[in-house]
């Protein structure tokens, strides 16, 4: 474990030596499902504190770096990409203007092509010391987590077919191609670390199941040089996992809804409301693992990666042995989950949707009322002087009498 990048109290001056601080970029490029949402949430919420310590986390919204990554990689993401126009250049501009350490973090950067990596590194300008940080987790957990993530993004693919696609060495499918782009650690390091000395490439391993709850944060904190800074670590965002029947149910829901629900509606209703806010709360159900033969295969593959990474001499925060994963346990197949296992989750889902439907009806009624009031005010505002005078007179008995006389004189009855 090498010395982590040291934070300074002044962006231009090293706290201990008083010398001019090095201009540095800590570029965290994934991988997905390694506690990245939590890390990004802590960095975002504490960005003012970090700034006071000479560390820039340049984001004005939580998903700012996600948008920048979409822009850099020209990726579409269910319509979100329309908010990403020019986001990378704006991010890079802030990094160039900051004299101290900047942190950029998003896990989809793991899939960047060599040309995009080159563009990203070039965009920080000359004389910047770039550190690439890759957080990694064992494939025993990553493979099922990626399938679940696919299901939460409208996928209809069964678990068996998913495993078949990722085991195909040709990687000809979109799923196989994306999975390895985001998970093949030596390849990610080839793309991102090729032009950096190994001591500027840091691997943070996700601890094995059963480790202390704060162990991953301790590793992140060390890798990013955040030790000693008083940060608010309250977890506010997470990307929770689903159980076997819940994921199986969601896949069945996808079969029905993906042809009729557009991605901009799917995201809040299915991914957020059903998956994250409802089904993920059912923590008592079986967790998804790997079938025995796949388990053996991924562990063998992981051992070969560990040997490769050791050979390259990168800085490792944690233990490379974490990458091999836990021994095989009982496998519950989501493709054959019986209907009675899905029923309780389905009832929770229906309840959540009805509650949401009621809330939206209330919102609709409020909006209709506000619209009606606004229309009324508009009518009042557009009254002519004559109309104003008539309405003012009609409001008082004397006025009504005067109006009656006027109408009789003019021969009018209204």
């Amino acid at each position: 474990m090498s010395t982590p990048p040291t934070p300074t109290t002044d962006p231009t001056t090293d706290a201990t030596t008083g010398a001019a601080a090095r201009k540095r970029v800590l570029l965290h490029v994934g991988t997905p499902k390694t506690g990245t949402s939590y890390l990004q949430d802590v960095l975002f919420r504490n960005r003012e504190v970090l700034r006071g310590h000479g560390i820039l986390y340049p984001a004005d919204r939580f998903d700012g770096h996600f948008l920048a990554a979409l822009d850099l990689m020209r990726l579409t993401w269910g319509g979100l990409e329309t908010q990403a126009v020019g986001a990378w250049d704006r991010l890079a501009e802030q990094v160039r203007a900051w004299p101290g350490t900047s942190i950029i973090s998003h896990e989809i950067l793991s899939t960047a092509s060599p040309t995009q990596v080159d563009r990203a590194l070039t965009s920080f300008g000359e004389g910047v010391e770039v550190h690439v940080i890759v957080s990694v987790r064992d494939l025993v957990r990553q493979v099922p987590a990626e399938w679940q993530e696919n299901v939460k993004h409208r996928s209809l693919v069964s678990y068996a077919h998913f495993l078949e696609m990722i085991r195909d060495p040709a990687r000809d499918t979109r799923i196989g191609s994306w999975f390895w782009g985001a998970q093949e650690i030596p390849d990610i390091l080839d793309r991102w670390g090729a032009i950096l000395p190994p001591e500027q490439v840091h691997l943070v391993t996700v601890p094995r199941p059963g480790a202390a709850p704060d162990e991953l944060w301790r590793r992140f904190s060390h890798a990013f040089g955040l030790d000693g800074i008083d940060l608010d670590l309250t977890p506010e965002r997470a990307n929770p996992s689903l159980g076997v029947p819940e994921t199986a149910l969601l896949r069945l829901v996808n079969k029905r809804v993906t042809p009729v629900v557009d991605p901009p509606d799917y995201r809040p209703l299915v991914r957020e409301l059903l998956a994250h806010q409802t089904l993920s709360r059912r923590t008592g159900s079986a967790r998804l693992g790997l079938p025995p033969d796949t388990h053996e295969w991924v562990q063998e593959l992981s051992r070969s990666w560990v040997a490769e990474v050791e050979k390259r001499g990168y800085d490792v925060v944690g233990d490379l042995a974490d990458l091999v994963g836990a021994p095989s346990g009982t496998f519950v197949d989501p493709d054959t989950a019986p209907a009675e296992d899905l029923l309780p989750a389905a009832l929770d889902a229906i309840t959540a949707l009805l509650v949401e439907g009621s809330r939206l009806r209330e919102v609709e009624a409020n909006l209709a009322r506000e619209l009606e009031e606004t229309r009324h005010e508009l009518v009042l505002a557009r009254r002519s002087n004559a109309e104003r005078a008539v309405q003012a007179l009609e409001a008082r008995p004397a006025g009504r009498r005067a109006l009656g006389i006027y109408r009789r004189v003019r021969g009018r009855h209204y």
């Binding site: 579409t76 899939t111 060599p114 990596v117 979109r174 191609s177 009729v260």
Partner: protein, 371 residues
Amino acid sequence: MSHAATAPGAVTPGAARAWGWVAHLRDGGTTPWVAWTVEAQPSGRVLPGAQQLELLRRLNLAASARPLAPGLADRVLTAAAPGRGKPDLALVGVAGTGYGPLPVDPANLPADELVRVATSVLAEDVVRLGVPRERRGLPRPRPHRHRVAGDPVLATAAREALGPRRLGAGPMVVIGAPLDQMLADVWTRRCFERGSGAWLEWLRFWQQRGQLPPRVDLPAVADRHAGSPGGVTVVLDPTALPDALGVRRVPAARRPGADAAELARRIATVVGLLVPPDERARLMSRTVWPRIPLTSMPPVSVPDEHREWVTRAAERMTRRLRRAGYPVVGDPAAVAPVLTGQTPAPERPDAAVLELAVRMLVDEDWTKETR
């Protein structure tokens, strides 16, 4: 050495051959990778991907020894392939670390992969062209103005006939046609606005929803405008349209082929990554729509498996139009789908889309003309 990082001074024979091929392609060469033998020193930090290199070779082939536009070769070689397709691929024969996707012979890449790269470059061209300024024409004293809605391809032709000075607050003219044609027209026009799902995927969406796209649900459009000043007229007889609009003639509707619409759809996706949504719609409808080169492929058409629900929807529309309280010019039954008699466009016209994309990159005439 991976294709990812070919640092100068550390070049394997395979990588040197690849850099030689890069130089050859930059010079307008057309030799396929498998036949290439000459080595060269690296001319950059990163060896371009197989998709970018093969697209440049196809451009050189199409240019037939004419030089490409200045800077085009560099733009192609550094273009990001947008979306979630394959990552940039290494060339077969260039030794790597053994990780990453399998290296390929670029001549065997599917057309779709080359189109991805091409759309990235074409989208930048579209943004560079910008939105043309609207020609206002001669001012007219008290012009009769109309608004136009309905089939978006026919409505575009009608707006062209009216010109900007006679378009605006006034009677609403809702233009209809056989429903299968209106569906094809909505999808085609969407490709030149915000982009869309693929044709059959889009059609299935409406089938499963049991609804029609709002623009061609003619009774709903007419109902929305029935109470507006000037009233609403639904026109289903094309010969009556000039009268309804108060013009001498309406130009023939321009319907890009399925290949052109598909290319526009994919360009629109990338343009959406480069400019805000409203500007994308303006660029696609006012810059790309009038300029995209004509092709011999017919427009998309409703396939047989969709005829039944489209026919039922048309019958419902006919009944609602007959009951309407507003004027309907032409027979309400005219919205019934018709068999065009044309050979339908292929479901995935990838090769034709690539051919058109290459044509647009090599021959820049489309950037200069507005028909």
